[in-house]
């Protein structure tokens, strides 16, 4: 599976939009991009998933350019409760291969 690279940490303030970019240069045709969020002492929680272009749900938006070698998770108007680790993962569109988590991006939201 494609290796992902994302910033180790980011800081933001309440009310700002936060964009976390992940690179996955070796993504394969059948791969999807998926993002999870993890709060301290909790299990990861699925946020959003996409294949190409833009996906939006009630929590976030995911932007994927045409070459799919990167993706950007966009969190609108963050609050203190969005402080967490955000993981970008690439997963095969078929089959049963388990998800592999990297180090993620630690987002700290300040008041």
């Amino acid at each position: 599976l494609a290796k992902t690279t994302q910033p180790i940490s980011m800081d933001s303030y309440e009310g700002q939009e936060v964009n976390i970019t992940c690179s996955h240069n070796n993504i394969a045709t059948n791969d999807y991009i998926t993002w999870y969020q993890q709060f301290p002492s909790q299990g990861p929680r699925f946020i959003i998933q996409g294949y190409k272009t833009k996906v939006t749900n009630e929590v976030a938006s995911l932007f994927i350019p045409a070459d799919r070698k990167s993706s950007t998770l966009s969190l609108p108007r963050v609050s203190l409760s969005d402080t967490a680790v955000y993981y970008c993962l690439v997963k095969r569109g078929q089959g049963r291969r388990a998800l592999t988590f990297g180090s993620g991006t630690r987002l700290q939201v300040q008041p």
């Binding site: 002492s41 049963r96 388990a98 592999t100 988590f101 180090s103």
Partner: protein, 116 residues
């Protein structure tokens, strides 16, 4: 919203003892997983389970570990002869189908295992 539940939330055991960590996956899910996270480190895949057999396992999941689905609702991880380095948060997860498109993993809140 249905949840994956794990018990106990915290388990303390002595080195060399056996522990069983328990999980109740979401009821209509078919795939089950165990992950672990050593404090301050990555979430590491241990094993996946489907149709009453191991589907995939990592190099961490050696003979010390075993999984079982003893009935229609529980999914357990047994760790034999625990070592200090087994101290970690263990997460159970389930998914409706395999981790192909459209089937996210749902994680429980974990069992913190402390080996003394």
């Amino acid at each position: 919203e249905p949840e994956v539940t794990q018990t106990p939330s915290h388990q303390v055991t002595q080195m060399g003892q056996e522990v069983i960590l328990r999980c109740v996956p979401i009821s209509n899910h078919l795939y089950f997983y165990w992950y672990r996270q050593i404090l301050g480190q990555k979430v590491e895949f241990l094993v996946s389970f489907y149709n009453n057999e191991i589907s995939e396992k990592s190099e961490i999941f050696d003979d010390q570990f075993s999984v079982e689905r003893p009935d229609g609702s529980n999914f357990t991880l047994k760790i034999r002869s625990t070592k200090l380095e087994d101290s970690a948060m263990y997460f159970c997860a389930s998914s409706e189908v395999g981790t192909g498109a459209g089937s996210p993993l749902h994680f429980g809140n974990g069992t913190r295992l402390t080996v003394t």
